[in-house]
């Protein structure tokens, strides 16, 4: 179980970590709101229910007191009737001479709303007098009736019975009355002799019933009445009790002292108030089932749940709004940082939202700016590095070329061809002049062409006009920029690879022209040409072509062009075996002035 809980908690944590901040804020706030509302609702509801129960109990206590007062008055009234009958009538009459019927009738008439009958019996059960005037049922022995026995058992007290059907007098209207009998032993005077008799006042049970019915209509729960032993005298559902359809905890309640207590009866929790009625020992018992203390409990619960639900809905939407307000600046900042991840350093970093987020944004922006500066520095550094590499590549030319030319001059001097040697030295001087170009990497195409011409004049001396050269350069491109010493090595390659192997006259064509805004210079020979595989290898890094001549590989020229002008420029080789080869130089068309200025500045910075 513990492990399961741990797993669950870790699952929740992971889940939270994968969700957006807006979601987390929204869900967390909503959860807290829901818990708070439920707690608050439950507390208030509990408080309310306790308060309602207390109110119901308090109200019923007052009702019980009122019933007690009414019962007290009612019973005193009945006892007063009994006393009047005894002390004012029976005790003053000699029954041998005067019957008490008249006085009894007067008293009965005055109180007949609450009385069924008043009767007096001798010790042997013989009727002395009764009101209203009636005949005792034939064969009836009153001395066996409960009220008679009780009155004669405790002669000093007035006895109250439980409700019963009066079984005394003949009647012809089929009516039977439920009565509560108030009986007492009395002294009868007959011919001056005293004897014991029994006075019976039968109170109409409906009097008690009405008294309780009125109170029950007002009370929460119900109020009933028992005698001191717990036998029911009045109950609002008396007939159901008599029919055993329902049950009541009357014996247990009647055994309790006066006051308030709680009980559980037939699975129902109830509050019970007990109050003893004076003289009789009867018990007024108020029962408030807990559910009756809240007559609208279901409605109240429904109402409470609805209110809580309403607040939860409002809170949820407010939380959504608040979380959006909080999360949006963070999300925007996050998006900016995501752009940074994609190396978009030129984007603006979002600065907005609360103070902390603004501060964070500003800090990130500062960091980005620093990064950007660092990147620029790195780019400049790279540029410089590239330039250095270029310089190194360029420097590779000189030893090869110089060796070859000097070799030719030596050969001429050895052959006493001083004039030619001088011309070659002059041409060599021109070559070096252009090679140096005051340290510039970029020269005009015109200069580059002059450089090639100087070179060719040297080579033509060496090869004794074994090949012919045709140069056709568009005048429009003569003043455009080129990297120096790119044409000469190509021509050199053409001479070494193509012309040397030629049996007949070799031919080298140099065409310069402009196409689609770029400059193209084609060096075409009519040599042996190359197979396609060789062409493919010539410009690759792992070229293993055996080098000859000046030793400047086409790859070096290609690299120099691409390093300086970009990947889209460089050399292209078109060759067919036995047909010849064309090396095409592709350069951007940039006027020399424009590029030389820029390069001048770079040199100054350097």
């Amino acid at each position: 179980m513990k492990r399961r809980i741990k797993n669950f908690i870790s699952f929740i944590k992971k889940y939270y970590q994968t969700r957006s901040i807006q979601f987390n804020i929204s869900i967390s706030f909503t959860l807290i709101s829901v818990i708070a509302m439920i707690f608050l609702g439950a507390t208030l509801f509990y408080r309310f229910s306790v308060e309602s129960q207390n109110n119901a109990i308090e109200s019923n206590k007052q009702l019980v007191e009122q019933v007690n007062l009414n019962m007290d008055t009612y019973l005193k009234n009945m006892m007063r009737i009994s006393n009047s009958m005894y002390y004012s009538v029976i005790k003053n009459l000699d029954l041998a001479q005067v019957k008490p019927d008249k006085e009894m009738s007067l008293l009965y008439e005055a109180n007949k709303d609450n009385l069924v009958s008043v009767a007096c019996f001798k010790e042997d059960g013989q009727l002395v007098g009764a009101a209203p005037v009636s005949t005792v049922k034939s064969g009836l022995n009153v001395t066996t009736q409960d009220w008679y026995i009780r009155a004669n058992e405790k002669i000093e007290n007035i006895q109250f019975s439980t409700p019963h059907v009066q079984n005394l007098f003949e009647n012809s209207n089929y009516r039977y009355y439920w009565v509560v009998s108030l009986s007492r032993a009395v002294e009868l005077i007959e011919d001056g002799n005293t004897s014991r008799g029994t006075l019976l006042v039968d109170m109409n049970f409906s009097g008690i019933e009405q008294l309780f019915s009125k109170v029950n209509a007002k009370s929460t729960g119900y109020i009933y009445l028992t005698n001191r032993n717990g036998e029911i005298i009045y109950h609002p559902r008396q007939q159901l009790l008599y029919s055993h359809i329902i049950a009541e905890n009357n014996f247990s309640a009647a055994a309790q002292e006066d006051g308030y207590y709680e009980e559980r009866f037939e699975g129902v929790k109830r509050s019970v108030i007990v109050r003893t009625v004076g003289y009789t020992g009867w018990k007024i018992i108020s029962v408030i089932p807990t559910k009756d203390a809240f007559p609208n409990l279901i409605e109240m619960r429904f109402f409470a749940v609805l209110i809580i639900f309403l607040f939860i809905v409002i809170m949820s939407f407010m939380n959504l709004f608040v979380s959006k307000r909080i999360a949006t600046p963070i999300k925007k900042l996050d998006a900016s940082v995501k752009d940074l991840e994609n190396e978009k350093l030129n984007l603006d970093i979002y600065i907005g939202g609360s103070y902390e987020i603004r501060h964070l944004g500003k800090t990130i922006k500062k960091v980005v700016e620093q990064m950007r500066k660092l990147m620029d520095d790195i780019v400049i550094e790279q540029e410089m590095k590239r330039k250095n590499e270029l310089d190194i590549l360029q420097s590779q030319i000189n030893p090869h070329f110089l060796y070859n030319t000097l070799d030719s001059i030596v050969w001429m001097i050895e052959s006493d061809r001083y004039e030619e040697a001088m011309a070659m030295v002059t041409a060599l001087a021109n070559l070096f002049r252009i090679s140096l170009s005051k340290g510039k990497n970029i020269i005009t195409i015109k200069d580059e062409l002059q450089h090639v011409e100087s070179y060719l004049s040297i080579q033509q001396v060496r090869y004794k006009d074994k090949f012919e050269v045709a140069i056709d350069i568009s005048p429009a491109i003569l003043e455009c920029s080129t990297i120096k010493l790119i044409l000469q090595p190509i021509v050199e390659n053409a001479i070494y690879y193509a012309m040397e192997a030629m049996i007949g006259d070799g031919e080298i064509k140099i065409n310069g022209y402009e196409k689609n805004g770029d400059i193209y210079i084609d060096v075409t020979d009519n040599g042996l040409g190359m197979p396609a595989e060789m062409v493919d290898q010539l410009l690759s890094d792992n070229a293993k072509i055996k080098r000859r001549g000046s030793g400047i590989g086409l790859r070096n020229i290609h690299q120099r062009i691409t390093l300086y002008f970009g990947e889209e420029y460089g050399l292209s080789i078109f060759s067919e075996p036995d047909e010849g080869t064309t090396i095409q130089i592709h350069l951007p068309k940039i006027p020399y002035n424009e590029l030389s200025n820029k390069e001048g500045k770079a040199n100054v910075e350097k």
Binding site: H164, Q239, L306
Partner: protein, 336 residues
């Protein structure tokens, strides 16, 4: 989530409006309109006093369960057509459930089966043939008949002829009581005579009078006891006997007061018992019958769990035992 902003806002205000409406409704609505369930109780016979206890039980249930009850009796003792018309009227008057004591178990059977499909019906006291046991609240009439038989056989010697007057045998309850009584008397070896009106007997009063005069002719050595199996016939028998006994001319011809037994508990019957005109009565707890009948009907209407089948109890009392607390509580239900 906020991509569906209009939907969310609509949902929010929709929910808010719904909750506000429910709150408003729950605040203003009052429970006074609750007492709208109308139940009609249609019983047989034209004697309202005969149904006092049943009616009290029904009224108690109506008060406990918050329903309106319309109690209807017939203008004649036994008229199935009238009872059918009364039921029709009750349904037209918007009764939501019916509690019926059938005047004729056989004649009413098809009709009650048909209306049971339209409206919840529970039978009390007397059922219609074919109605399921759980829709019928009654005592075990056969056992009650046997109990009466046992009281008669205990009180009388075997040479007593037991005359049984049971005119309302069209009612299942009476028929079952008669079977129970006859079975018990025959088992105990008593001689039975059934007073049954023939087609030539046009008047019930005259028929009873004739039967009584025949039974009590002077010089007859026969001892007889009379048993009546429902309220009306018991009241009729006692009334007639008292009438005959009070007639001087007839008094001389009578050998002895006849012993009368019966089933019933109208005020008149109880009074006759108290006066000693009836030896013993068996009576069913009709208060319970009314209360439980209503409870069963409401359970059926609301399809709620019903109280497990409760058999209605019955008691047997004589003049001496009728005032015992347990008996007087049932014989004289407390009037509210």
């Amino acid at each position: 989530m906020w991509k569906n902003k209009p939907v969310l806002i609509t949902l929010f205000f929709g929910l808010l409006a719904l909750i506000t409406l429910i709150l408003y409704w729950s605040i203003i609505s009052k429970p006074e309109a609750r007492k709208s369930t109308n139940i009609s109780v249609i019983v047989y016979g034209n004697n309202p006093e005969r149904w006092t206890a049943l009616k009290k039980g029904i009224e108690q249930a109506a008060s406990d369960m918050d329903v309106n009850v319309n109690f209807l009796i017939m203008s004649k003792e036994n008229d199935p057509a009238e009872q059918r018309a009364t039921i029709e009227r009750a349904i037209e008057d918007n009764a939501k459930g019916l509690l019926i004591a059938a005047t004729d178990s056989s004649e009413m059977a098809d009709y009650i089966k048909r209306i049971s499909e339209e409206i919840p019906v529970v039978m009390v006291e007397t059922t219609a043939l074919g109605v399921a046991k759980y829709n019928y609240i009654s005592v075990d009439n056969y056992v009650m008949g046997r109990k009466l038989g046992a009281a008669i056989t205990k009180d009388n010697s075997k040479d007593t002829t037991i005359c049984i007057y049971a005119p309302n045998r069209q009612r299942q309850s009476v028929e079952e009581r008669l079977t129970g009584l006859s079975d018990k008397l025959e088992e105990d070896g008593f001689n039975l005579v059934r007073w049954e009106m023939g087609k030539s007997d046009m008047n019930e009063d005259l028929f009873i009078e004739a039967k009584l005069k025949q039974s009590y002719l002077k010089g007859s050595e026969k001892k007889i006891a009379i048993a009546a199996l429902d309220n009306n016939s018991l009241e009729l028998i006692v009334g007639k006997v008292e009438n005959i006994l009070s007639t001087n001319e007839f008094l001389e011809t009578v050998t002895a007061n006849p012993k009368i037994y019966g089933i019933g508990n109208t005020d008149k019957i109880v009074h006759y018992l108290d006066k000693g005109y009836i030896e013993q009565i068996v009576f069913q707890n009709e208060f319970n019958m009314g209360y439980l009948g209503m409870e069963t009907l409401l359970n059926k209407m609301h399809k709620t769990v019903r109280r497990p089948n409760v058999d209605i109890s019955f008691s047997i009392v004589n003049k001496e035992t009728m005032y015992l607390p347990e008996n007087e509580r049932l014989l004289f239900p407390i009037v509210r």
